[in-house]
């Protein structure tokens, strides 16, 4: 189709000549190739493939040709347009990739810029520690019991076998309220919650009672007029000291890992008989008393044991005062300090850090301990 036009024939319209179509096509393809970016390519597309481009105009004239010539010209123009469309698409893809690559490089940011725009918060380690302890028991089927901190004297003392003239009553320096004859105290222990539980529920009772308690201690690095205790109480048929030890061992292993067990020493608490002091194997030196780097373990001061708290078999007199038949049921109880556990578990050195509300102390604990 590239022979010279020798005869004038209306059929042989110039724009539709093979040479002309070829020229338009080559010109268009060259323009596509020369487009350096997407906007340039868009302009090329308009100029060479748009409605008013030479190939489009040529295409419009095809209809005026006689049938034979029409077919030939149609094929010629169609092929040219097809080649152009293909070239545009190919160029489009190349330029898009180029554009994306350039954009990704240009849009680089300094990801180390701080974004401390929304403030951080935290829960208090005493809260989270006491929840952690409670959860161990809840997982065993126990429930969490609670009671008021301003408590009836009878529940804080008398019902727990601490009569008015019990020498042990002076061991606990009690905050009394006015008027003095109204029989209200700030509870010195969470044990009144145990009494309340026995008075309001039937056995079997399996409860753990965390909470705030108060003693008239001056405030210093190791004493506070307010601190936190958790006590446990079980009242059921056939409960023994072995169940007490089993429950405590389980709790300690859940909190501090395998192998952390208890040691009992005979002690005295009016609430329990027999009574024991409980120690736990030091979770840092695991009972050796030695620090890893040599010297004595700081957590247990070389003892190998950490004093935890008191426990024992619930005194039948307490069961009686709380409406539980001691001939049918026996129970055990234990109690220890949550604040102290937070201190030795996390290596805190001053008890006051727990109560001064300094966010620098609390924030690192986050929402769980």
């Amino acid at each position: 189709m590239s022979g010279p036009n020798t005869d004038f024939d209306p059929v042989e319209v110039t724009p539709l000549s093979a040479a002309e179509v070829e020229r338009m096509r080559d010109e268009a393809l060259a323009a596509v190739e020369a487009a350096v970016d997407l906007p340039a390519l868009k302009a090329v597309r308009t100029a060479h493939a748009g409605d008013r481009s030479p190939l489009a105009l040529a295409n419009r004239e095809i209809g005026a040709l006689p049938p034979q010539a029409r077919k030939e010209a149609g094929q010629r123009v169609g092929q040219a347009r097809g080649a152009l469309t293909q070239a545009l698409a190919a160029r489009q893809e190349v330029l898009e990739v180029e554009h994306e690559e350039r954009m990704l490089v240009e849009e680089v940011v300094d990801v180390t810029l701080p974004w401390d725009r929304s403030p951080r918060g935290a829960r208090h380690p005493i809260t989270t520690m006491s929840e952690k302890i409670a959860d161990v028991f809840v997982a065993m089927g126990w429930e969490v019991a609670e009671g008021p901190v301003v408590e009836a004297e009878w529940l804080n003392f008398d019902a727990l076998n601490l009569g008015a003239d019990h020498p042990a009553r002076t061991m606990q320096d009690t905050f009394w309220t006015e008027p003095a004859d109204h029989g209200l105290v700030l509870r010195t222990q969470t044990s009144p919650v145990q009494a309340r539980t026995m008075l309001t529920r039937r056995p079997p009772i399996y409860v753990v009672c965390p909470g705030r308690v108060f003693r008239t201690d001056e405030y210093d690095a190791t004493h506070s007029p307010m601190f936190h205790q958790v006590e446990g109480l079980v009242v059921d048929r056939g409960i023994t000291m072995a169940h007490l030890r089993g429950s405590l061992d389980h709790m300690l292993q859940s909190l501090f890992g395998e192998g952390i067990t208890t040691r009992f020493r005979p002690s005295y608490f009016p609430f329990t008989e027999p009574s024991a002091e409980m120690d736990m194997v030091c979770f840092v030196c695991r009972g050796t008393g030695a620090a890893e780097q040599g010297g004595t373990c700081r957590t247990c001061r070389g003892e190998g044991w950490i004093e935890l708290g008191g426990c024992g078999i619930v005194n039948p007199r307490v069961l009686t005062a709380c409406g539980v038949d001691p001939d049918l049921y026996s129970g055990f109880a234990f109690g220890f300090g949550i604040d102290r556990m937070v201190m030795f578990r996390h290596g805190a050195e001053d008890l006051r850090d727990l109560f001064e509300a300094d966010v620098r102390f609390t924030l690192p604990f986050g929402s769980e301990v």
Partner: protein
Amino acid sequence: MSWLREHVALPESLSTDELTDRLTALGLKLEALERPGHDMSGPLVVGRVLTMEPEAQKNGKTINWCSVDVGAANGTGDPQGIVCGAHNFSVGDLVVCVLPGGVLPGGFEISARKTYGHVSAGMICSTQELGLGEDHSGILVLPEDAGEPGDDVFGLLDLREEVVELEINPDRAYALSIRGVAREAALGFDLDYADPAARAVPPANGDGWPVEIEDAEGCPVFVARTVSGVDATAPTPDWMARRLLLAGMRPISLAVDVTNYVMLELGRPLHGYDADELTGTVGVRRARDGEKLTTLDGTVRALDPEDLVVTDDSGAIGLGGVMGGEATEMSQTTTRVLIESAHWDPVSMFRTGRRHKLTSEAGRRNERGVDPTICEVAAQRAAELLVEHGGGTIEDGVTVVGTAPPREPISLPVDLPAAISGMSIPADTTLAHLAAVGCDVEVDPRGDSLWATPPPWRPDLTDPYDLVEEVARIVGYDEVPSVLPDAPSGRGLTRGQALRRRVGRALAGAGYVETVSFPFVGAADLERLGLDGDDERRRTLRLANPLSAEAPDVTTTLLPGLLSATARNLGRGTSDVALFELATVTLPENGAPPAPLLPVDTAPSAAQWEELQRAVPAQPQHLAVTLAGAREPAGWWGPARPATWADAIEAVRVVADAVGAEVEVRAAARAPWHPGRCAEIVVGEHVVGHAGELHPRVCASYDLPPRSAAAEIDLDVLAAHAREVVPAPRISSYPVAKDDVALVVDADLPAAELAATLREGAGELCESVRLFDLYTGEQIGEGRKSLAFALRFRALDRTLTDAETAEARAAAVALAVQRHGAEQRA
């Protein structure tokens, strides 16, 4: 330890550590172990003074230049030349010499040194230098039969002693004596035990000092013995003084020291009177109203009719069992001593001690319970010691009034120790261990239980479970196995407990830091909140014995603690602070009834329980937050966003969302908030709390920056209105139609109210109404504001037509115009 070994045959191979470990396991916890004398080392020997030449010195002192025979201890056998500054000895006396190379207490090493013109090859020692006592007036002269020159004195004088300090629980008063500890050591190792109270005593007769007991309940036994002709100046023997010192008591005089020594040995407190100061019959009775007594600490005490007093014809001469009186106190001139050995009612002792704030070694034992059967023995022992070291004679008269109350046997099912301890304990083990603690044990003929009569020194043993503890502790608590009980299936946390945890987590997630504060406040703290005189938060529960006079009340609001904590953080350099606290407050009611002291031998009746519950004040869980400084700090992104009243309200919304409660916010005025920037938080019909900006005066009084914000709500009420079950929403899949509307209203119309009106007016096709712009300014006019809302419309079952949307929008606007006089902005 030497004292202990006199009464229990501890084998030499048994170390003190082993002993204290066993005692600790038995319940006598090792408190401290001291080893006085263990820093001393030889040569420390007996010497005989051969010559002594006094030489006056330029400094006015006179020293003695002595030669002392130290046997072969110095290696040569020649006499040792020693300079000594003391003069209380003479040629021929046996003394204690430390030779060069020896070390005295405190690491004081002795070497031959030149002094006062001589080479002193050692030192002649005083009691104090040997660590044996406080007497440094002169050197220690040994008795003639003490030993030979050159003998080592460590063993001779028990210079190396071990002092074991035990922590004694209040139920084990018997262990506050050598007698009791020796018994524990003996039963701990199954050793022979020589009871120091097993002594012959002469029988009572009518010749003793006349004694009349008016109150036999308060003083069941009173023994009096008299020793006359005592040398008032006789010193306390060194060994006794040393033991008292090591036991933490100061030697005073022979007669006083003897009574203390017997108390430490037997556990029975004694009192000695100067018999020449006594007039007539000694009596025991309760004090009379208005009676006064000067006790030997020099304090004049107004006596209570419950106090037990010892009397003579002159009136009260002592607080029985607690502290003696000044008038009949033994002194430097006392030659006739009346020894009182009496048993006192522990409850009365406890009450008197507490009433007069008196603590004494005697009182500590008497209020915990002493063996009532050894009054005679203790008096005899004291009298003998007094005569032995102070001369004189024990008068023949023996006064014994009253008898020790008998002990009732306790019935113990044989299998109870095993059933309670969880250990396997055969019956014969139970029998043996009860016998070892001193019980008389009889097996019930039926065989399944036994009768144990506790010994008189164990008033703490009253119940079967007490006996179980005795058996279990001797078997050893270490033997208790570890067994998990079979708990029934639990119901997990209560809803309230779970919600509180959720609230804490939500607030921590929203950037608040939890605090734990003491609940103590004072009137000044509430004043700083700006509470009115009749504000219900001023109705606090007052402590009878507060730690600080500034904060004597139990708080009714968490804000004082939280505001102080905020200020403390700011003061310590944290500039942006957001805190929260979740705790109970105490809300006493006027005229609340007193809490009854109910009986303990049975459970309270329903009425009694009800009465007790009513007396305990309400203590709802409150939640409070404070904000100061920036809520978002300035950064490379731009300027800081200061915390405002709106953040405080938002915190409450966070809490409400966490518990699943829907709250409404309304304008309110309440201290300590800014009256124009305070919201009340309403759920249902209840105002659950308030939030907003703090009053400028409150900020100033708590040292907080202006515009600090706070909120406090009653979490219990909020949680009570929380949705238990969220109804699942129905989601339309048809397209949404959006339209905005801007309304101009009076400036004081709450936006929330206008939004509610639009919602109501727009009807059920309206999906949401959201305020997106607030504008005030000249264009709007004085006292007016423009609020722009985005409205979204959608139906569950169809695509809304433009006409339907327009109609709903128009209805919304129409209601706003009608209800609030709103004008629609173009």
